[in-house]
Each structure stands twice: as structure tokens, then as C-alpha cells.
Subunit: 473 residues, 2 copies
């Protein structure tokens, strides 16, 4: 009953899987983007019990086609314009295969030195690639680490801010209910989630008002901080956003940074989606003022061609994060750690275990080259600019926010229900997929361009489909 | 400058990668298990800057061999006996490849229904496979979800316990410094990490004493709880361990559960490594009393042949977890969610995004079959029993804890330094890898048997090498 797959069986099955994925790339464009199954439909096709006896690889793959595929929404489709992209480009898939095959744990330097050192190195590369502050590099007091998501990066930032503000007393004594955090009313829901998890309480998260561009008002921020200080509270954390989820609004980092500096508050910058634009020098303005930030994150797993999960999280003073999260039981002690000459990334995030995620990032950067990545990003942004011109020129539609990078927010002038109907009919058609948000209290459609397979023709066809659907309203 | 890899290029490179991984499986046994590089050695071989122009796949793979491989500690080697296993068996690697290729986001049911439904279904299968309480199944008030790690499962358990104890006030008002958590002195460091993160403070974590088998004393637990209640504190969370990291000790769940019930305290059971043993009916005793637990987790990414990351986290009342972590911004609203007919796993853990991890688990269970998995687990445990007999019969060595499942804790009678020297010389030899812990204040070696490629002969040779090294002390 030894079911261990031999290397040769793996060869045969692995080659078949490569064929399957390659052919998926070839046909994904023709598949309905949004899955059409009803709740429960996938489960109904699955047997109630796990198999006692082994199934063959071919049987499993038949079930992938028959049971799984109808329930897939095709994020890799060139016609996917929803949410933000979740790029899983071929080089990232290849790098991730290698990571799975090696199956190393990178919790300590000693448990696979290359896993730690490649990560440190590639994260240093990215500081230069994006023109981030030099103080985020590992040869300074700062440094970078791969997290699974911006949600967890933000959580780590909140925790470190909490500890710095309480001189590392919250970690031992617990939260005391006086710590306050700030972000804009347009910030991502993960900020509130992090503030709740960290024990600050969502009542202590101030949602600062935004200006006409949906960007945080530094004046309103300072007014609120002053009020809180006056009430005996302790402002400890500000999260500014570079590229909000709704409209890709960019908070004014310089002015927010000055306020944070004045009151000694931790500034975290969440550039989860938009950060990638800084690959191109002409878009580096999005990070103006970032040198004042204590921490920063962006997600290569969104727009930078790297499959999930891969968030790059940087700090100006790594020692504060390590002091916040470090725990050293006997079973993890080792000479390399004790020597102090190495990084042990287990102290840089919540989980202990970690896979070799730097490989996929390394594969992407090398296979595209910096120039190759810039080429794609510029295309996406140019396509968004064109799309926004089409919207502006059509008197049935209006832009609902200034077009920003690769996102266009717009609506049909027929009101909220018309926009919901428009979106539903387009998504049901299977020909494209887009999602919505709320801008100033009204439904707005979001057209996000950034999948690795998306070319100008897909955007053009999508616009034609949108116009056709609008005809039928 | 369009560097988008075509489907055909992916085919060619993908097949080469499959060959590379298959040949890795063939030769991993011959490689020195523990990497021999010095700190900084990997980085020295990497160019200071990211490439402007693309590199070819062949160039990247040459660098994998030249730069990365020397810095790898081979967790997939059959001679890896350190920590716990991190199995990345071939079917899990194939399932993970598919997950990477599809590149879907499973944050909402609607963003890929099959991703959510396969996960729910496979986690229900596992309830039966391991003989877990029926109340963990999705057709009850309970349910399961895949987390990245036991660390994050424990964090979610602590957070939910915190909210239940404070009637969901901590989430909004913040922690108030009166909540107390309990675990044994032998529990994993992630419990302390979670308690700190959740804002309870490590001073509020009671490390309950253990008996001669390193298992938590329910009497000591109750005494401590009584004392804390008397002091006006609020006991909210107990973590019992099924298979401690040091010695695989098993806390008495029945008695601990009774105490928790009496005082209305959340009981979380951490079976990260050992849970897999329950695949075999004869080892299900490890979970005796689990029906009283509020939450439970174990890691298929350790011993159940599934590559990292894959922790299965179960609750008896999923609504409490969802109420703790749920946040619903406009841009995530959709009909399926509003209908209440579907699960949205984003509310079951910290990150918002999530990859299709159920695929690899499904591939493993189907390719091995339940019988195939049991066969391996029984072999590992039998090998550990044999190994422990060899240790007991050798008057240079002694067992330092009762042999438990697939782990043997032992030491050379020559004292702490002799054991350190023994371990270092064995690990330096490259012929096997084992790690240490502290048992009752003295260094103990850990011999953990559980890699998918490990057969009896590897254990036998390892014991011979240990004896030879002991000769040279």
C-alpha cells in the first residue's frame, strides 16, 4: 500500500500538468470570466467521503475539468477588470513550482540560508527598482520582508507602532485603551481589522476626512490628533494610502509625514496595489514624502506579475519590529542566530513557518527585466488613459474620480440601479468582469487594467461591450 | 520590449522545471542535509542590482544550481530528522502548481466558488478521516478553514475567545487588561506570540505546570483560574496541546475541557504536528475529549504530505469567528454574500486575499487514498518505536521523554556539551540532520521521523551514524 509517487511518475504527471496550464493560458480568453455556478453546485459533484483507495492522476485531472473549472472565476483572463489584478505570470508560476519542489522552511536563516538571503537581496533590489528610500535597505537600520498580504503587513506595522508608543509595555501588560490610530475614510478595510486584532479597538480608529480627490486631509488629521492628545489619549499610528481601493487616490505623504513627525506618530504607507507603478520613474511621484514613513508595503502579487502570496513590507528601523515579535524557545536556538550575523525572518511576521517566496519574485524580475516590467505597466496605464477618454467623450457616462494610474472609476448617468444592472449584465455575459465601489455615496463602476495577458484590444472590446449593454438599459 | 512569456515558452520552461524537480527527488538523498554556507555567502554571489534586460530561463536555472542550491537545507531529504517534517509530497506539489496556474483569489465565494466549496468539502472529509467531533463539520454550527499556519489559527482562536469573553466589546473598545489566557509550560511559542498580538499582554498568559510526561496538569490549571477569578480577572482562553514541540506530550483534553466548561473558558487545541496520527484509528486516543473544544487546528503541511502552507482550523461555532473578524466594505459587497447562502472565507482569518490551497490537499488525499496515508503514518511511528528501542538498549544513551508517535527524545549520558557536540558533528557530516530541545532543564536530542521519502533503512543508517559519532566523543 505504499503510494509514494516515484520520481518517474512525478515526471509523467508533472509534464501533463504543464500541458494543462499552458493550454489554460491559450484558452482562458475564451472562457466566461465570472463563474456561473450557483451556491452548492460544486459541492454536489464531490463525493461525500474521502477515498479509501488511491485515485489516479488522470482521474483527478478529469475531475478538475468536470467539477472545479465551472466554479472558477478567471482572474488570469485578459478580460478580467475587477477589483485589482492578481497576476500569476508564467515566470512566477515557475519560481513557485521550484519553491514547492524544494519544500524548505525559511523560519530561521539556518533552516535554509538561501531562502533568507535571496529574500533580503531581492527586497534590496526592489528598493532601487521603485526608487524607495535608501533607509529601507538591509545595509541600514531598515529592511524588508515578504508577508503574505498587505493585511498582515499593516498588522505588523500597527503592532510595532503600539509597542513603540508604550515603550514595549503593551506586549507584556496588554493594551490600556488609550492608544489611537488614524487613517482616511477611503483606506482599506484591513486597517480597521488590524486595529481590532491588535486590541486597540475600532472606536480608537479615526477615519480622517478626504478632499475632493479622495485623499486624506493633513489638516483634518492634525486637528483630530490635537483633540485626542487634549483628551489624554496617545496617538500611535497613522496609515496613509498610496492608491486607495475605491479610486486609487493618493494621500499627501509629505504633509502627513510632517504631522506624524511633529507628534512622534508611526507612519505606515499602504501602497498595496499602486506601488508597482513606481517601477517607472515618471510615476515615482506617488511616493513623494515616503522618506518620512516608518513602514511601507506593496503587493507584487497584485500588479507586479507575481502570483499570490507576495507582499513586500519595509521598515526604517527593523529592530523595533523584531523586538515586537521576537520569541526564542530552546528548540529554535542555533549558532547562526546567537551570532547575530544573520536575519531570522520568523521574527518579522505572525507565522513561524515560511515558504521560499523570494524565488518567484526573483524569477519574475529576471525574466521580465526591469525594462520589461516597465513596458507592461506603461501599457496598462496608457490603456486606462484611453479608456477614460472614451468615457469622458460619451454623454451617457461620467468619470466619478480623477483617472489614476491603471484604474478608471465611472458611472452611467442613469443612477445607482442602472449601474448595478449594467454591471450585472456585463458580468453575466462572461465576456468581461468588472466590479463596483461607492464614490461619494453613489455606486461607481471600477475598470481596473493590469492582467499580464491584457492587451489594448481587450480594453477596446470591453468598452464596446459596455456601450452595447448601456444601449439595452 | 514585450516580455510576456508565451504559452509555448511556458511549456518548454515548465517541462524543464519538472525534470529539475524530478531529478531533485532522485538525488536529494545524496546531498548534505544541512546547508554548509556561511552567513553572507549566498548574497555575495548575487549581482548588486536587478537586471535591466531580461535573463533567459536557462540562465536563471544555472544560477539556481550555482547560487541557491548550496544554501539549501534539504527538508525533503529522507535523512531529515530535525524539528518536525515539512512534507512536500509530489501530489501536493502538483496540486499547488495548478493553484499557481489558475491564480484565483478565494477571498469571497463569488471570486471563485470552487475555491471556497472544495475547501469546505475537503475540510469536512478530514473531520471523518481523523475522527474529529462531528460538530466541526460545515452542516452544523461549526466549520473548518485553511490557515497558513498554526500560529495564525491560534491567533484567530485567541481573538474569538477575547471577543466572546467581552461580549464583542474588545473589538470596538479595545482590551481592558483583565483578560487572562492559559497554556502549559511546554506549549508552542506561538501561543505567547498570539496573546501579545491580541493585546492581552504576555503577563496575562499563565504557563501551567506539567506532569512527569510533560502534559498540562488540569488541577494546576483550575487552581490558577480560581486565583485569577478571585483577583477580579477574566479567564478567557486555554490552549491545550496535542503533541508538544519538544516531546510530543499530549495534554489531557477531557479534564482540561471539564475545567474550561466549568468556568466558561474558550478551549483551543493545538495539534499542529500530531493531529495527523489520528488518520489511524489506533491513534485517535490523542483526541480523546476534543468534543469539548471550541477550536482545533493541525497542519497537513507538517506530517500529512501537503506542502506549506496548509493548516486546518476548525470551530464548533463559526459565527463567533466571523463576528470577530468580519468587515464588509462596499467594494466587496455582492449578491451571493448578501444572500447568506455562501461562505466568504475572508472573514475567517487575518488576510483578505487567499490562494486556492484546498487543491493540494485534495490531490494528496486522492492520490494517497486514506489507506495510503495510514500506511505511511504507521511506518513512521513503527520506525520511531524501533529507534527508541535501540536507544534504550544502548547504555551510552537514555530516553528523555516517553517515546510518542513519530518522535524520539534522547540524550547521550555525557552531559549537555557532549550532546551539543554529538549533534553538531552529525549535522556537519551532512549525512543526517537532527535538532535539540530542553527537557527538564537539560539538552535533549530530537529524532523526528516523518518525511515522505524516509524508509526504515534511512533510520537504521542514521542510528549507526549516531553510534559512530558517539564513539568519537
Amino acid at each position: 500500500m505504499d503510494q509514494t509517487m516515484s520520481a518517474d511518475e512525478f515526471r509523467r504527471n508533472g509534464h501533463a500538468m504543464i500541458e494543462w496550464i499552458a493550454s489554460y493560458y491559450e484558452r482562458v480568453e475564451t472562457l466566461p470570466v465570472l463563474s456561473r455556478v450557483e451556491p452548492g453546485e460544486t459541492r454536489e459533484l464531490l463525493p461525500p467521503d474521502a477515498p479509501e483507495q488511491p485515485d489516479t492522476f488522470d482521474e483527478i485531472m478529469d475531475d478538475v475539468d468536470r467539477i472545479i473549472m465551472p466554479g472558477i472565476t478567471h482572474w488570469q483572463s485578459p478580460n478580467f477588470f475587477g477589483f485589482f489584478p492578481a497576476n500569476a505570470s508564467p515566470p512566477s508560476v515557475l519560481g513557485d513550482m521550484l519553491s514547492s519542489g524544494l519544500g524548505v522552511q525559511g523560519m530561521l536563516w539556518a533552516t535554509s540560508p538561501a531562502c533568507t538571503e535571496l529574500e533580503t537581496h531581492v527586497l534590496d533590489w526592489i528598493v532601487d527598482l521603485l526608487g524607495l528610500p535608501a533607509g529601507f535597505k538591509s545595509d541600514t537600520a531598515g529592511g524588508g520582508v515578504i508577508q503574505d498580504s498587505a493585511s498582515n503587513a499593516t498588522l505588523c506595522a500597527v503592532l510595532t507602532a503600539r509597542e513603540r508608543a508604550t515603550e514595549f509595555q503593551s506586549n507584556t501588560k496588554g493594551c490600556d485603551g488609550r492608544l489611537v490610530a488614524y487613517t482616511s475614510a477611503e483606506a482599506h478595510s484591513s486597517i480597521e481589522k488590524a486595529v481590532k486584532i491588535a486590541g486597540l479597538g475600532s472606536d480608537m480608529l479615526r477615519l480622517i476626512s478626504v478632499d475632493e480627490n479622495m485623499a486624506m486631509s493633513p489638516e483634518a488629521l492634525e486637528t483630530q490628533i490635537k483633540e485626542d492628545v487634549k483628551s489624554g489619549l496617545i496617538p500611535c499610528f497613522v496609515c496613509a494610502t498610496v492608491g486607495t481601493t475605491s479610486t486609487l487616490a493618493i494621500d499627501p505623504l509629505k504633509d502627513i509625514g510632517r504631522v506624524c513627525e511633529r507628534y512622534g506618530i508611526w507612519l505606515h504607507v499602504d501602497a498595496a496595489h499602486a506601488g508597482t507603478a513606481a517601477l517607472c520613474p515618471e510615476y515615482r511621484f506617488i511616493h513623494d514624502g515616503l522618506e518620512r514613513a516608518d513602514s511601507y508595503c506593496f503587493d507584487p502579487h497584485k500588479w507586479m506579475f507575481t502570483n499570490f502570496d507576495c507582499d513586500c513590507f519595509y521598515l526604517r528601523d527593523r529592530s523595533l519590529l523584531i523586538k515586537t515579535l521576537s520569541i526564542l524557545p530552546e528548540y529554535l536556538r542555533n549558532q547562526a542566530t546567537e551570532s547575530g550575523a544573520v536575519i531570522d525572518y520568523r521574527d518579522w511576521h505572525v507565522p513561524l513557518g515560511r515558504r521560499f517566496r523570494a524565488l518567484k519574485l526573483w524569477f519574475v524580475i529576471r525574466q521580465y527585466g526591469a525594462e520589461g516590467m516597465r513596458f507592461q505597466i506603461r501599457n496598462h496605464i496608457q490603456q486606462a488613459q484611453e479608456f477614460s477618454e472614451w468615457v469622458s467623450a460619451d454623454n451617457r457616462f461620467e468619470l466619478t474620480a480623477p483617472q489614476s494610474l491603471n484604474l478608471v472609476c465611472f458611472r452611467h448617468l442613469g443612477g445607482d440601479q442602472a449601474n448595478r444592472d449594467l454591471m450585472d449584465s456585463l458580468n453575466r455575459s462572461g465576456e468581461l468582469y468588472l466590479t463596483h465601489t461607492s464614490v461619494q455615496g453613489r455606486i461607481s463602476l471600477r475598470f481596473s487594467i493590469g492582467q499580464w495577458l491584457t492587451r489594448r484590444e481587450h480594453v477596446e472590446i470591453a468598452w464596446r461591450k459596455i456601450c452595447e449593454a448601456a444601449e439595452k438599459l
